[in-house]
């Protein structure tokens, strides 16, 4: 009897959209056998280009995603979009509203849009987004776009799942460059000053270019800075041309290595951390340690050392 995911993958190969959606859910929810499913999916993937779009709220990421997808689709490419929004830390629920800005591409059969919540697990989303991007890739999508909120660390993590990262900013954004979060400047492959119809757009471009030149490394080309506006349509065609050029050449061989390393480590970390939690909770060692610490019989550092010994992992030189 075929596993549920085996039937789904077969249906996906047949072009069944619902099966694709259900497979995504299956993997996102980490249902039984999801890893086996991904082992089957993995070799089917590899032909898509995965773009990441990040930037602060208000930058116009969804609108830009919509514009890019529209153009690429008109030029003959099929698109998968993953739109990420934060889960509520209180209820665990989420309000996923990126589709609001993507109304005009939401009936095109060649464009598949999926909203994902961060679900509050550190590092968890990154893997899930990578898996979903891979599934969309395997389903035959030429391009996958991951769009994030740009608040908190999860979003920077997610973007590490992309081959090419666009950082969207806009004139009047807080203290402009200062507002661009630490970490995002380093990972962006392209800077887009959106809402370029507003005052201060050119100044912002100059600021970013100066910043990039300053922090640039020898022999490494500084990322480009482009201007776009969904009001005047300025720069949108150029942006898409630029992205298509990347799709052609995929210069970032150096990136590929790093991405695979990241993925292995992230999967390992997740597994190990899960294993540890499970084992410690199962045989009551964790509870026991808590009791002892509260009774002031032992400090947390020692307690951990002792438990680590039982894992047969040599204690690092603490």
């Amino acid at each position: 009897m075929a596993e549920p995911w085996e039937r789904m993958i077969a249906a996906v190969k047949d072009g069944d959209v619902r099966a694709l959606a259900k497979l995504i859910t299956y993997v996102e929810n980490r249902e039984a056998g999801w890893k086996d499913a991904m082992k089957v999916v993995y070799p089917l993937a590899g032909t898509s280009t995965v773009f990441g779009i990040t930037g602060s709220p208000g930058a116009g990421k969804s609108t830009l995603t919509n514009a890019i997808a529209r153009r690429l689709c008109d030029q003959g490419f099929s698109i998968g979009i993953i739109a990420v929004d934060p889960s509520s830390p209180f209820s665990g629920g989420a309000l996923l509203g990126d589709r609001i800005r993507m109304r005009d591409i939401s009936v095109d059969s060649r464009i598949f849009i999926r909203s994902m919540a961060t679900r509050g697990v550190l590092g968890g989303l990154c893997q899930a987004a990578r898996d979903v991007a891979r599934i969309l890739d395997a389903s035959g999508k030429d391009v996958v776009i991951i769009e994030t909120v740009g608040v908190g660390q999860d979003e920077i993590e997610v973007v590490r799942a992309s081959e090419f990262v666009m950082l969207i900013c806009f004139p009047g954004q807080g203290d402009s460059i200062q507002a661009i979060k630490a970490g995002t400047m380093e990972i962006a492959d392209l800077f887009v000053v959106n809402k370029a119809d507003r005052e201060g757009a050119d100044e912002m471009v100059e600021e970013i270019e100066a910043m990039l030149t300053l922090s640039g490394q020898e022999g490494v080309q500084t990322p480009q800075v482009m201007k776009t506006s969904s009001v005047t349509k300025e720069g949108l065609d150029d942006l898409v041309t630029f992205l298509r050029a990347f799709m052609q050449t995929k210069k970032r061989r150096d990136r590929e290595r790093g991405l695979v390393r990241e993925e292995i480590l992230s999967l390992m970390e997740h597994e190990v951390s899960r294993m540890v939690r499970e084992r410690l909770t199962q045989d009551g060692r964790l509870e026991h340690a808590i009791e002892r610490i509260l009774a002031q019989e032992v400090d947390p550092y020692t307690a951990v050392e002792e438990m680590l010994q039982k894992f047969s992992i040599p204690t690092p030189g603490l």
């Binding site: 959606a21 209820s91 989420a94 309000l95 509203g97 939401s106 999926r114 909203s115 919540a117």
Partner: protein, 136 residues
């Protein structure tokens, strides 16, 4: 029980009706009840709603209609779901729905009609009862 499994709900405004208060309140409310809510915004065609529901793999579609066009719009959504073999998705309707039309909507396959003022907890409880195998 899988801890990561969430109930996903699509809240949609079909047609040209621009009154969003009910949809907003339900969207925020269900989020705070632990659901993942995809809100489509205004001016959705039945085709867009069906598409979104399928792509997002939601268990529930909530239609909010205050323009009086609820019968024709709901019918189109139900037809679209049927065509796509997706009529296992629970469809609930809210807004300004005259008593007399509730039976007609149910006849189309709508599971429940929640008129204005229904507490969010009741809607959430209803969904939890009728969506299989989920704890949210």
């Amino acid at each position: 029980m899988n801890q990561e499994r969430k109930i996903r709900v699509l809240i949609a405004k079909p047609g040209l009706d621009g009154h969003e208060r009910g949809a907003h309140v339900v969207a925020f409310g269900l989020r705070d009840e632990g659901f993942e809510v995809i809100y489509t915004g205004l001016r959705q065609t039945p085709g867009q709603i069906v598409n979104a529901a399928i792509q997002e793999d939601v268990q529930v579609i909530g239609l909010s209609i205050l323009s009086g066009a609820h019968l024709s719009l709901t019918q189109k959504v139900m037809d679209g779901l049927k065509t796509q073999h997706a009529n296992d998705i629970l469809v609930i309707v809210g807004g300004v729905i005259p008593e007399g039309d509730i039976a007609a909507l149910k006849g189309m396959g709508v599971a429940a009609v929640f008129t204005a003022g229904t507490p969010i907890k009741d809607i959430a409880a209803y969904i939890r009862t009728y969506v299989p195998n989920c704890s949210a």
